[in-house]
């Protein structure tokens, strides 16, 4: 109990907040996104290190956390891949290389929350000309091709978001991939499944289950519900975050197919 949480009013506030069902209606705070994408950060940048700072991403795997008070008190340990930091309660079993316990869906399984409405939309050609690093795309699945949607969000540094639509249903996404530069990330996890794996022999993290994705840069923050599984890996000082409904094995295969 801290001073800041000590008042009865704050206690009631906490009690109400604890009853927040999750997920309610994603994205959680869509309004914040607009500010994230339109406002400029003039705030402190000490923790942002890429081109004066890149959006800070926090992966929060909520799972049952909001309904299990004990989980709140758990100490956390930090697992980091690239600029993505996942905080896992100490009670969470140590990640292993063991595959996640999921059935392998078809290669066209969709991401449930497509980030179709983000700002900074570019054509693929525009995007390639706008960033100073090599954009590599998955060559697997073979029919994937170039992304259907591409976004470049430049708050204090570039962040690329690529989306492949689900064949036959363009309102849904098949894959979504973030490409992020060095920076500082933080978060907390109550992962339903959190597994360590490898991409090209380098450590990678695999998470499953609904979680809250927070992109942060200075004063600006985006909270978005993510329902897909996520593979996080790092290559050439870039951190990749692949959101998919596929199995971990398929996601790793896609990650290792970047060309």
């Amino acid at each position: 109990m801290t001073e800041s949480m000590s008042s009865a009013w704050e206690g009631r506030l906490l009690a109400i907040a604890r009853r927040a069902t999750y997920p309610p209606t994603p994205p959680l705070w869509a309004g914040v996104r607009d500010r994230l994408l339109t406002a400029r950060s003039g705030m402190r940048q000490r923790r942002l290190t890429w081109a004066q700072g890149l959006a800070v991403l926090v992966v929060l795997l909520v799972g049952t956390m909001l309904t299990v008070p004990e989980a709140r008190a758990a100490l956390v340990r930090i697992l980091q891949v690239g600029v993505v930091r996942v905080l896992a309660p100490s009670g969470t079993s140590t990640p292993t290389v063991a595959p996640a316990a999921t059935a392998a869906p078809s290669p066209t399984a969709e991401v449930l929350l497509p980030p179709f409405d983000l700002s900074g939309r570019k054509t693929w050609d525009q995007l390639r000309g706008a960033v100073d690093f090599e954009l590599r795309l998955p060559s697997y699945p073979e029919d994937l091709g170039a992304p259907d949607l591409a976004f470049l969000q430049d708050i204090d540094g570039p962040m690329v978001i690529l989306v492949w639509r689900l064949p036959g249903d363009p309102s849904r996404a098949r894959l979504a991939m973030h490409i992020l530069g060095p920076g500082t990330f933080g978060g907390k996890a109550e992962p339903r499944i959190l597994a360590a794996t490898e991409v090209h022999g380098r450590p990678a993290l695999w998470t499953e289950g609904p979680h809250s994705l927070i992109l942060r840069s200075g004063d600006y923050v985006l909270h978005q519900l993510v329902t897909g599984n996520v593979l996080i890996w790092e290559e050439d000082d870039l951190t990749y975050r692949l959101e998919t409904a596929l199995s971990m094995e398929e996601a790793v295969r896609i990650a290792e197919s970047l060309r």
């Binding site: 109990m1 801290t2 001073e3 800041s4 949480m5 000590s6 008042s7 009865a8 009013w9 704050e10 206690g11 009631r12 506030l13 906490l14 009690a15 109400i16 907040a17 604890r18 009853r19 927040a20 069902t21 309610p24 959680l28 705070w29 309004g31 914040v32 500010r35 994230l36 923790r47 800070v56 926090v58 929060l60 909520v62 956390m65 909001l66 008070p69 989980a71 709140r72 008190a73 956390v76 930090i78 905080l87 500082t184 933080g186 978060g187 907390k188 809250s212 927070i214 942060r216 004063d219 600006y220 923050v221 909270h223």
Partner: protein, 88 residues
């Protein structure tokens, strides 16, 4: 969170109130939203919140204090139902 963290039997809390609270929190500026979200909705401790935000714990305390003051004003002026739910 101490004795104040639970719902009292005579005033059951609802998921609707949580939704209203989330709406009210959404009227805070992003930085305030973030710290309130982490501390209250996700239940992070101050140390965890500080680590998550990459700021000192003192910053978390001061930021949270200001955020809650602003939230209280919003609730008092715009959310009478929530104001009553928060009344103790």
């Amino acid at each position: 969170m101490g004795a104040t963290s639970g719902a009292s039997p005579e005033s059951p809390l609802s998921h609707d109130e949580a939704a209203v609270l989330r709406e009210a929190v959404g009227k805070l500026n992003p930085r305030d939203q973030e710290v309130v979200y982490l501390r209250f909705f996700l239940g992070l401790g101050e140390g965890e919140t500080a680590e998550t935000l990459a700021v000192p714990e003192g910053t978390v305390k001061s930021r949270l204090s200001r955020a809650l003051a602003r939230l209280r004003i919003i609730v008092e002026s715009e959310y009478p139902g929530l104001r009553e739910a928060l009344r103790v």
